[in-house]
């Protein structure tokens, strides 16, 4: 058990940012951490930019938000959003980013994949780009993309939670049918990306 670990999960409204954050926090709670998730609701969710902050502490978490430049891990479900929030990472921070670009609508000169990636590589100490939709499609359910991203961050040994707790958390937060698909997503991702 480490002293503390701060995660930001970012993406576009509707992709499952809040659920990912919940999954991480619930697993960490099962592992004995105190946890808090700072969420953004309402207007911010209508296809807008969404960030959730998950804080793990073996003693007690006070603030629901992470102090600036102190996040240990960023899980980015979309490239533009990953770029938007990348400065929140600490200088030794890591990132697991879904290789998926959905530019905001009605904008013609949005940053392209390569430009985003080169900026992210400059900023982030350890960046892992993952085709999360590719893995989700193997399950046959594109909506599990968020669980794939969380699982990837575990497969790369960033997320300090146990596989057992991740599985229990899936059972705790999803209905039976969805839990099954998400479990498949978790297991397949761990198998494909795990060392």
């Amino acid at each position: 058990m480490i002293d503390k670990y701060d995660v930001i999960v970012v993406g576009v409204g509707g992709m499952g940012v809040l659920t990912s954050a919940y999954l991480i926090a619930e697993s960490a709670r099962f592992d004995g951490y105190d946890v808090k998730i700072g969420e953004v609701h309402g207007m911010a969710q209508r296809g807008g930019s969404v960030i959730a902050e998950v804080r793990l502490n073996k003693e007690k978490v006070f603030s629901p938000t992470i102090p600036r430049f102190e996040a240990d891990l960023m899980i980015g479900l979309e490239l533009t959003e990953a770029l938007r929030y990348s400065h929140k990472l600490s200088s030794s921070g890591s990132a697991v980013i879904n290789d998926y670009l959905l530019p905001p609508p009605l904008i013609d000169d949005y940053p392209q994949r390569e430009a985003i990636l080169s900026k992210l590589r400059r900023q982030i100490n350890d960046l892992r780009l993952v085709d999360c939709y590719g893995i989700a499609e193997k399950i046959g359910a594109r909506f599990v993309v968020n669980t794939v991203a969380v699982a990837a961050s575990k497969a790369y040994s960033f997320l300090p939670v146990s596989n057992k707790s991740l599985l229990n958390a899936l059972k705790s937060i999803f209905s039976d049918k969805k839990a099954k698909l998400n479990r498949k997503a978790l297991e397949l991702t761990l198998k494909l990306l795990g060392s």
Partner: protein, 622 residues
């Protein structure tokens, strides 16, 4: 067991990860609340969403309703409490403005069984038109106020609120902020109590505040608030933590930032954590500040605690340095963070504020504001109105998803005050010889549009009222309303439609489906022809795209010329530009077909097989 079931039925000692709002819902259930009412509003919405399920499925609380507005909700809950049932009303901060009238009288009348008024404030305006500080209402009405700092306290302090309310026979204000309501944290469940109804005895000399009664009740209220001050002195909700000759006084979510900040700066400090913030415990504060070297007050928004503490120091002749917002050490606007509180404490203590700490700059990224969802019927409705009416028209907007028409490509929002204000604003604009249109959603229409429409008829205001009826309260999470035929507890009820009022008031009206552009344009033109002096009303009726199953998707065929009429007139997020042509992101398309109607070249067609949906999933990395 799903989360709602755990909230309703979870036993003593069970641990859950709950949003502040879910914890409040559990707190209400534990306190044995019998009647709970609300009008949905973020950041309070999840309290109602939770109770809607727990009341209908598990009978906890026994009665819950989504009222038509906060004033109604307040009166229902307050009177149920007078009648002897533990009751609660909850709303977002601006909702309490709507309910302010009965709130003020309820302080005079008092309560019989416990009555708690929950207000969810929104520092930082995450989902609101202002960041007013509703702690003022406790001062204004002379009502006790409690403020939790996290989910556990949000649950536990609900019980305290009811105990205080019953002891004083006064409503208690329970104030949370967005970061308490929308933070998920550990909660250990308590015991679910059952409350026996209290007896109600008729007493017009108390419950009917005609002037003669009100004058007496004012004195009773002053006496009660003095008793509340004694509770504030005694209660462990106001307590000292830690030690040191620097004193920090804080409450609510700011307590968390203060705790993290003192650990970060590594100073010895004594914290006075205030859970009961009105009335403040004068003696406790006096004793806390008198032996301190310096006192720093950490509170979001207005310097309310600070003002009181400065007054306490002055009246008790305590000479101590007090710092807070009056020294500009802490900002008046926006929500706090650990960083802001660290900076404020350092300034107050004359410490160096970071030896030029390297500030990482955010990368430049295109803004991604909230937008209309793919297939949202509001896009079609705005397109139709824009097509028929002159661009010089004044567009009076209202509160709901449709306020997003302020953005491109519509830019059809010129004025907005609050819930239901669109019709009033259009009336005022029309007095200045402007052609004015009011856009109002179905739930907002029932909330406070009705008296405005009556005024438009009565005073012969020449306005067009556009009701955007998507059959739900979409913005706050799809709560039912009088037009849905369903109550907050899931029971069937009479369907009340906006056009019924147009019919009753004898004004011209039309009802149309915005997904059919041609017919809707005709309906609007027909209405404008029939419209004389006074108002006319058109209802655009089509259910919210998020609660309708997708039966088909649309694709762009090779007739596309790249004119982008579809994108420029609708701005649907499923429509994008790609290699000089328009494309439809089939993973976003909800199959409404509106874009196929605005395409001049018949280049948009529907496909029924879901395989296409899979094939046309588009990632802009390729």
């Amino acid at each position: 067991m799903n989360l709602f079931e755990k909230i309703a039925c979870g036993g003593l000692g069970e641990k859950l990860l709950l949003l502040g709002n879910e914890a409040i819902a559990r707190g209400l259930i534990e306190a044995g609340v019998i009647v709970a009412t609300t009008y949905p509003g973020t950041p309070s919405s999840e309290i109602g969403n939770t109770l809607a399920v727990t009341s209908s499925k598990y009978g906890k609380p026994r009665y819950f309703e989504f009222s038509t507005n906060e004033k109604v909700a307040f009166e229902v809950a307050a009177s149920a409490a007078v009648a002897g049932l533990r009751s609660c009303v909850f709303m977002k901060h601006v909702g309490l403005n709507v309910a302010a009238d009965p709130l003020m009288s309820s302080a005079y009348i008092g309560t019989n069984a416990g009555f708690t008024v929950i207000t969810a404030d929104d520092p930082g305006c995450w989902s609101s038109q202002n960041e007013q500080d509703n702690r003022y209402y406790a001062y204004l009405a002379n009502l006790p106020m409690l403020e939790p700092s996290n989910s556990q306290e949000a649950k536990d302090m609900i019980r305290d609120a009811f105990i205080i309310s019953e002891k004083l026979e006064l409503p208690v204000i329970f104030r949370v902020t967005t970061r308490v309501s929308h933070t998920r944290g550990k909660v250990i469940l308590g015991k679910i109590e059952t409350q026996k109804p209290k007896k109600f005895v008729k007493n017009p000399g108390r419950y009917v505040p005609i002037p003669a009664v009100a004058r007496k009740r004012r004195l009773v209220l002053i006496d009660k608030i003095n008793k509340a001050r004694e509770i504030s002195e005694q209660t462990n909700l106001n307590r000292v933590e830690g030690s040191g000759d620097i004193g920090i006084i804080t409450s609510g979510v700011s307590y968390n930032y203060a705790m993290e900040a003192i650990a970060k700066i590594n100073i010895e400090a004594s914290i006075l954590k205030l859970g009961m913030t009105y009335p403040l415990p004068e003696n406790k504060i006096k004793n806390f500040i008198k032996d301190k070297k310096q006192v720093i007050i950490i509170e979001e928004l207005e310097p309310l605690i600070e003002n009181t503490i400065r007054s306490i120091a002055q009246r008790n002749n305590v000479k101590v340095k007090i710092n807070g917002k009056h020294d500009n050490f802490f900002p008046l606007s926006g929500e706090f963070s650990t960083d802001i509180v660290v900076d404020g404490i350092k300034k107050a203590l004359n410490m160096e504020t970071n030896k030029q700490m390297k500030i990482k700059q955010a990368e430049k990224t295109p803004f991604r504001p909230p937008i209309f969802c793919p297939g949202c019927p509001h896009m079609a409705s705005y397109h139709i109105v824009k097509r028929v009416l002159s661009p010089r028209t004044i567009w009076a907007s209202d509160i709901g998803c449709y306020t997003l028409a302020i953005n491109k490509p519509f830019q059809m929002a010129d004025i907005l005050y609050c819930m239901g204000s669109s019709i009033g604003a259009a009336m005022g604009m029309s007095k200045a010889d402007k052609v004015a249109v009011a856009f109002i959603g179905d739930s907002t229409f029932f909330h406070s549009g009705l008296p405005e429409l009556v005024n438009a008829v009565y005073n012969k205001h020449n306005v067009l009222v556009v009701v955007l009826d998507n059959g739900t309260t979409a913005m706050t999470g799809h709560q039912p309303h009088p037009g849905t035929g369903r109550t907050g507890m899931g029971e069937k009820t009479k369907v009340i439609l906006p056009e019924m009022f147009a019919e009753a008031l004898g004004i011209p009206y039309e009802v149309t489906d915005p997904y059919n552009i041609a017919l809707s344009v005709k309906a609007l033109r027909r209405l404008l022809k029939r419209k004389g002096e006074g108002p006319a009303l058109i209802v655009f009726r089509r259910s919210c795209a998020l609660i309708r199953p997708v039966e088909q998707v649309y694709i762009i065929n090779d007739k596309c010329t790249g004119c982008f009429a579809c994108i420029n007139s609708l701005g649907c997020p499923a429509l994008r530009k790609r290699n000089g042509n328009a494309i439809i992101l089939s993973n976003l398309c909800r199959g409404c077909g509106v874009c196929s109607q605005v395409c001049p070249f018949e280049a948009i067609e529907s496909v029924n097989d879901l395989e296409t949906e899979k094939k046309n999933f588009l990632n802009f990395t390729q």
